[in-house]
């Protein structure tokens, strides 16, 4: 069973049934899932969660899906690493990395798609759909395959080979759309209104975004049922950023942790930074941008939850990083070389922003800080490959090896 009761407009609080709708008919505000929090508090305990599955479904009491209907390919419950080496370099002794590269299709999108696909099937949809530059496409394709559903996945025509393969292997109907970013976006918005499919991040979006809460819940559980002092989260649509805090707040409502006072900070790439720019300007109105960054998984120029992200930055005394492509590469290398974690470009944005915020004094060394790394590095190998040291190539003799070994030069980024 689920404790979800209805959908509610985030702007005008009007209630709607738990159907495949995502926008309020009156004010066009976004709809969110509402729950019977008293019933959750009566039911859920730390022990109940701890004895649950090693996946996000251990938090089923907080999700809008009956867990018996779950499409479970093992999303969630990823490692929280105490990043002692990186923490030492940055002067943050209590730095943790939430390593969400460890999901079944190697990104946090498995969390949102696990919930969205399960709910879509409950609602009677036979087809799952999405428009994506990579991670979402991979996850929708995998979940549809596991559920025996048909997947229709739209991608830009110039997507990197690895990302295409990461979907193709699950045999969805993969559609490459010719045109620029705006063209692809416009077509997919139109398609989502024309076909009665479960578009995971459109008509099923209220359920989809609930999956992100589990990242916040897991972190609190893994810290010994305690909210962190500070979270650093990459911002694309802004949904992940907002929902991590919602997860912490819902744990508190259920009496599982103390009221969180977590500072929420964001991370964006310079080439797609509508939230960071608005934050710098002290405005609560972001201006949509045309993305131009190597961090394609964060390339959302018109973020659906951008405004709520700005509200959250303000409410929690957060900060927002904005980093260049070179800094992103540096961030990827820094994380890999210090902690052994190979993140995609979005992870580079997070780590580079973390460093930027430390340098600006936005993060206090005493804070228990969690940086969220949301996707694996092989997805964006092209971006980082030219900046890595080439292997030494030697003849099969000692002299050749020693000559090459002593002559080796590290590659500089920039």
């Amino acid at each position: 069973m689920t404790f979800a009761t209805n959908l509610r407009c985030r702007e005008c609080s009007r209630d709607y049934p738990l159907e495949a709708i995502h926008v309020c008919d009156f004010c066009f505000g976004p709809l969110e899932v509402a729950y019977d929090h008293e019933a959750i508090a009566r039911t859920v305990t730390r022990k109940r969660i701890e004895s649950g599955p090693a996946s996000l479904w251990r938090y089923q009491d907080f999700l809008p899906v009956d867990a018996e209907n779950a499409i479970d390919i093992g999303a969630g419950y990823t490692p929280l690493i105490h990043a002692k080496n990186l923490g030492k370099l940055l002067g943050l002794p209590k730095l943790y990395i939430k390593n969400d590269t460890m999901n079944p299709t190697w990104s946090f999108k498995d969390r949102v798609v696990a919930v969205a696909s399960s709910r879509a099937r409950e609602l009677g949809y036979e087809k799952l759909a999405c428009a994506s530059t990579g991670n979402l496409a991979n996850s929708v394709s995998a979940h549809a395959a596991a559920a025996g559903m048909e997947a229709v996945v739209f991608i830009p025509h110039d997507l990197e080979a690895g990302k295409v393969l990461g979907s193709s292997i699950y045999d969805p109907t993969l559609v490459k759309v010719r045109g620029n970013y705006d063209d692809v976006n416009r077509l997919c918005a139109e398609l989502s209104g024309s076909y009665n499919w479960g578009f995971v991040n459109v008509n099923v979006r209220p359920y989809y975004s609930e999956g992100s809460k589990t990242l916040g819940m897991e972190v609190a559980e893994q810290l010994g049922w305690k909210a962190p002092d500070h979270c650093v989260v990459p911002i694309a649509s802004g949904s992940l950023f907002v929902k991590i805090r919602k997860g912490l707040n819902e744990l508190a409502k259920a009496g599982l942790i103390e009221e969180p006072k977590t500072r929420m900070s964001g991370a964006q790439a310079d080439g797609c930074s509508p939230v960071a720019v608005a934050w710098e300007e002290g405005s609560m109105n972001f201006r949509p941008q045309r993305p131009n960054t190597i961090a394609k998984s964060l390339a959302i120029g018109n973020p659906a939850d951008g405004y709520y992200g700005l509200v959250q930055l303000k409410e929690t005394n957060g900060a927002c990083g904005k980093v260049t492509d070179d800094q992103i590469i540096d961030g990827m290398k820094l994380l890999a070389e210090s902690e052994g974690i190979f993140a995609e470009t979005a992870g580079g944005v997070t780590i580079a922003s973390l460093r930027q915020m430390v340098e600006r004094g936005d993060i206090h060394p005493d804070e228990t800080t969690v940086a969220f790394v949301t996707g694996a590095g092989f997805k964006t190998a092209e971006a980082v490959a030219p900046h890595l040291n080439a292997p030494l190539e030697v003849e099969a003799n000692l002299e050749s090896f020693e000559a090459a070994y002593h002559a080796r030069q590290p590659v500089e980024v920039g």
């Binding site: 004010c27 530059t133 997919c188 918005a189 979006r205 694309a236 959302i300 018109n302 659906a304 939850d305």
Partner: protein, 80 residues
């Protein structure tokens, strides 16, 4: 009759122009504002347009040509 829900983002130089009024005069399209926030530097308006499908598209092309950014109300549909 068709309808479309869109978000207009205005650059600073268009803030003073009665653009939605003019759109309604130029095209056989009914405009219905649902949410908005405008200050002296920028502004956005979420509205519903009703009319013949082709006429709505022409009115949106006209708005874009004026310098307005036109997006779906749901934000970008293409995600990472």
């Amino acid at each position: 009759m068709a309808s479309k829900r869109v978000r207009f983002t205005f650059p600073e130089n268009l803030i003073k122009e009665p653009l939605i009024y003019n759109l309604g005069k130029e095209f056989a399209v009914i405009t219905n504002v649902r949410m908005a926030d405008v200050d002296e530097h920028t502004g956005w308006v979420v509205l519903e347009l009703e009319g013949e499908s082709g006429e709505i598209d022409r009115s949106l092309d006209w708005a874009r040509a004026k310098g307005v950014r036109v997006d779906p109300v749901t934000g970008d549909v293409v995600e990472g």
